[in-house]
Symmetry: C2
Subunit: 126 residues, 2 copies
DNA sequence: CTGCGATATGCAGGCGGGTCGATGCTGTTG
DNA sequence: CAACAGCATCGACCCGCCTGCATATCGCAG
């Protein structure tokens, strides 16, 4: 799959809003599904959570293997997927590779799922 | 898997917020991942979109097979997964089975993903 | 009661994905 | 320079999932 990598970007640019108004086309569906696939894994959700709650909001691989209970190659694998999905950013300092959550990434996905911003389920404050 | 079926319910009750504060535990991660897995498929995203944009906000299987380009059994299969995930509700009227989106389902998931956003999410009209 | 249309379920094939061990690369340390 | 630590990549195994075909089930019409 190569839609991964710029997945979030491609999905973000056009405001597709899958559950919004009109049916989404195959291409948009695949792009959004690609990003959601990156999220739809226990290990990766925990990785995001761990990184997010880390001291500086960043963590290196060696700090993540133990809490997850997975091998180092596996953790690197998951971090790679999350990074290619646009959810994480990598910064190599010395021997370590620090991962950090892309600030607006998750929020963007959440927004894509909640299109009826205005006509919300039950809020007509007036 | 049996976390499916009440997946969304289990995930909704406790405000887990995967990306919120502290690391989520394995159980919550698996539950949320289960719901996200249901969403992370092009066919199912399009199904949700099609149903949502249908006349009465509901559609039967026979109306969905053609637009999706998938066989009837396959469509039923996807609808089953979405229903068990708590995203769709099924109502059988006569020979047909009408599917409808559970109103707050998607919104709930979106909220679970956007906790870091100021907790202003809950408004106390006062 | 019999036949037909709409769905659901069972079964099987094929592909993608998660995991680990081994290995290669790079930068640090002695 | 040599030895070592942190990560990424490779190859392989195995399980789960998407899909379609065939079949069973349910409801309605004649």
């Amino acid at each position: 799959m190569d839609f991964v990598g710029t997945a979030l970007a491609d999905v973000t640019m056009p405001q597709i809003s899958p559950l919004a108004g009109e049916p989404i086309d195959r291409a948009d569906a695949e792009r959004l599904a690609g990003v959601l696939k990156a999220l739809a894994d226990p290990a990766r959700l925990r990785l995001l959570s761990l990184i997010q709650s880390a001291p500086e909001g960043e963590a290196c691989v060696c700090d993540l293997t133990a809490p997850l209970g997975l091998s180092q190659p596996t953790v690197s694998h998951h971090l790679r997927i999350l990074t290619e999905a646009g959810l994480l950013e990598r910064e190599k300092r010395g021997v370590w590779a620090f991962y950090r959550i892309v600030p607006s990434a998750i929020g963007t996905i959440a927004d894509l799922l909640t299109p009826p911003r205005k006509r919300a389920t039950k809020k007509a404050p007036r």
